[in-house]
Symmetry: C2
Subunit: 542 residues, 2 copies
Amino acid sequence: MGTRKRILILGGGFSGVYTARNLERLLRPDEATISLINQENYWVYQPLLPEVISGLVGLTDVVCPIRQLCRRTGLVMREIQKIDLANKVVTVSPGFRPRLLDLSFDYLVIALGSISNFWGTPGGVEHLKPFRTLADALSLRNHLIQTLEEAEIETDAGLRRKLLTFVVAGGGFSGVEVVAELRDFVDNMRRHFPRLRSEWARCVLVHAGDRILPEMSESLALFAHKLLAKRGIEIRLNERLVGATSEKALLGSGLEIPAKTIVSSVPSSNPRVLQDLECEKEGWRLKVNGNLELVGHEGCVWALGDCASIKTVSGNRTPPTAQHATREAKTVAMNIVAAIRGGPTCRFAFEGLGKLGSLGEYSAVAEVLGVRISGFPAWLLWRAVYLAKLPSLRQKVRIALSWFFVLLFPPDFVQMRLTRQPAIARQHFETGEVVFRQGDLGDNVYLIQSGECDVFRETNGRQSPVATLGPGDCFGEMALLNDVTRNATVRVRTSMDVLLLSKDDFDALKTSIPVFGDVFRRLATHRSTGNLEPPSKGFSEE
Amino acid sequence: MGTRKRILILGGGFSGVYTARNLERLLRPDEATISLINQENYWVYQPLLPEVISGLVGLTDVVCPIRQLCRRTGLVMREIQKIDLANKVVTVSPGFRPRLLDLSFDYLVIALGSISNFWGTPGGVEHLKPFRTLADALSLRNHLIQTLEEAEIETDAGLRRKLLTFVVAGGGFSGVEVVAELRDFVDNMRRHFPRLRSEWARCVLVHAGDRILPEMSESLALFAHKLLAKRGIEIRLNERLVGATSEKALLGSGLEIPAKTIVSSVPSSNPRVLQDLECEKEGWRLKVNGNLELVGHEGCVWALGDCASIKTVSGNRTPPTAQHATREAKTVAMNIVAAIRGGPTCRFAFEGLGKLGSLGEYSAVAEVLGVRISGFPAWLLWRAVYLAKLPSLRQKVRIALSWFFVLLFPPDFVQMRLTRQPAIARQHFETGEVVFRQGDLGDNVYLIQSGECDVFRETNGRQSPVATLGPGDCFGEMALLNDVTRNATVRVRTSMDVLLLSKDDFDALKTSIPVFGDVFRRLATHRSTGNLEPPSKGFSEE
């Protein structure tokens, strides 16, 4: 058993999950253990995600638990903090206890996809809505419903206009599908929102190129353009989104579109953990060879999917589609098997079978093996292909049921909001409980509202009491200020209520309110000199 | 048209929605306008809510958009801030713009239900999970999945035990249904989580009385008790939950149950807006007469459902069930019609047809018209009754499909998490935009990260500039400190990025970190003397 190789897969999208599935098929259980790290416990069937907006398919229909798809793969549902290629260790975020977890590997597969990057656009991070994950789709749907509900009762005509204007930036496949579903959804809602009968909602598609769908041939793009325009979607070509506020979209030409909803499908970037990864890159993508091995780490690390720069034999970069990801996954799995068993490796050689894009309302465009199809036949093909490609029978049946169901009953518009959590969390401790231990990861500052706690320092197994803290005192800030682990253990003396300020919030406040940071910095300096009593009855006065 | 009466319904549960439906049926459109205020845009079919835990029915299957159920009723999707009975005005929270909205009424229906009240239990607010709303059910389900995923990879046996222990407090209908669904869910998951095959999860039901299901006859309660015990649920009678921390449940006998999941179905209390309402009450419930009129406001205000203290003819208080709520709604609607048209009023007289409780796994207990049924027949009856009672055909079909579907495919365990929002929000403004206007409601403090803005005061229509603020400055705190509306208008001078601290977070920080509050208070005093420049280059230094 000691010779079982450890294979670690990072990412649970098409590329990660299909690599695991191929490995399960190719390898015997005694040859290797397979683990997969993903923040969510489910895999998303990306091609159907836009349909979540209009409610054509249910939220849970487009996802499938990863454990169900890869039964022999161990799922680690955590965030990846660090990839150490030299020591062959991946570090993941803490779970219920504040300790990092290290996972060693013999073979590593990087399939982390890409993220939305709005930092280049002023106001982008704050006001652009991404459309990439299931959470994005859910939150966009909820936001749309909110705008309709508010527009219905709003008396100010200007604000109502903004509420009923929806801007989508990026006229590629993703942007076109989103704007089409958005139009369908709003049109379906006319029955329920009397205001929509008298005030036509405005949907705008902004695209930087001189025609939409650059992935498709010109004639199909033109077909799509006409169809969308006929359905009342305003298409602005050669125009770029350059800024956003909570009130409007700013375009490159100087035009402003007053709107409360701005969706952007571009641009993409590296997940943060890959930005820090030291290896060869092409642009922000990882550089791989024809066997999909990470350059400089051949035979040990593979990268695939949208995070890798992969060329087809014809020299084009592979598009971020499911058909490519699944073929790449097969290549990677076969090469890992070759690495374990010995034997020849194989090169990635797949040119793509075709391109499919839904336009909503029983229409689509398709190019399959050189043949161009549009309209209803393309739409039927689109549905058939995607239904056939679903990996589990369960999902096939569910989605088919969903599609059948909306023929009988139009989609609904329930807003699935979770109650808004207060930003600042609270925690209650009983006497004797330990708040954190020396050596734990520092991820929160604690502010005592009531009760008391003791601070101990442990040296060579000996505990020495350092201080007792009470209401108005705070603790835990040192680890945050210096970005290290806890340097003391805190145990509750009398049952205690605390406020928790997360590391991110603490950092934001510290930088924006200098005096706030100063107080904590002074306290930390004071304490690091060995004195853990608050300076002069604590910073609760000053 | 001037004579159309304005009917305002508060709350979108069974009682509120059925009052609206009855009114739509009884009144002509020219007789009255009907409005309903509810924070969510959907109505929840409460009896099926526990099934969401185990995934027997989908999340969106148990809900229905209110606009779809009451087509002639105007929905206001806002939070109720204040009910002014003397002036016949209800004030609701702001939408996209920070202004309160006043809604006048001729007739008012209060159907706000009850809320979970954990303040009496130390650690309750922080660590007990309620089970009352759809958001509660969703968040409990997500939490359960998280504990299973974490237990699967946890190496510490003690923590694993805590992760696999589930405590439910309260052995009434609601608690019993929750613990039964919870057991079913965990058992269904055994296939996917190898750990669950070797380590049996522990489910504990804690009940203060000497038998569970006090609503039922003793023999049925005993039947239920035996069945739950046989399925491995640990039932602790005559035992009360007295405290909770993130690590354990504390019981009255001194017993501690280490657990990461503690659900509580008790106790209930008034929604906050009713706590402030000045009228006669019985306990925390509103006092109504036999016509369900609010005592002291007869002929104008009605109250029903769980927020009202309603006696049946036999003198018992009506239980908070759907069958009672729908009958109360009918009585209220008829009495409102009587008030508008004149004519005799009617008294509420309904004793209940029966009681039904699901025990999960094809079993239930029922008492219908004096007949006691248990086991599979009761379960069939339970399903049939609830399916029949669903108001829309759409929902009937969906839920029937769901039930049919899980016969073929066992329920899944997708964790529908939204990305965690950072606690401290950010906003971007472009030159010329207005951050807030004099007279707006103060709901945020703004901390400038970059850019500048001008502060104006408006008197008799004249704008006089007061100050220019820049990076490191803050504004908007005065309205929060004094709990009034904004006393100035802020307009952006050069494109500006700000951090937003909500009123609740600001208050929490202010009370817990006295120095934090002091800084803002000093600033406010300084400014209220007419000087809006920050004191001595602002509180950014000090």
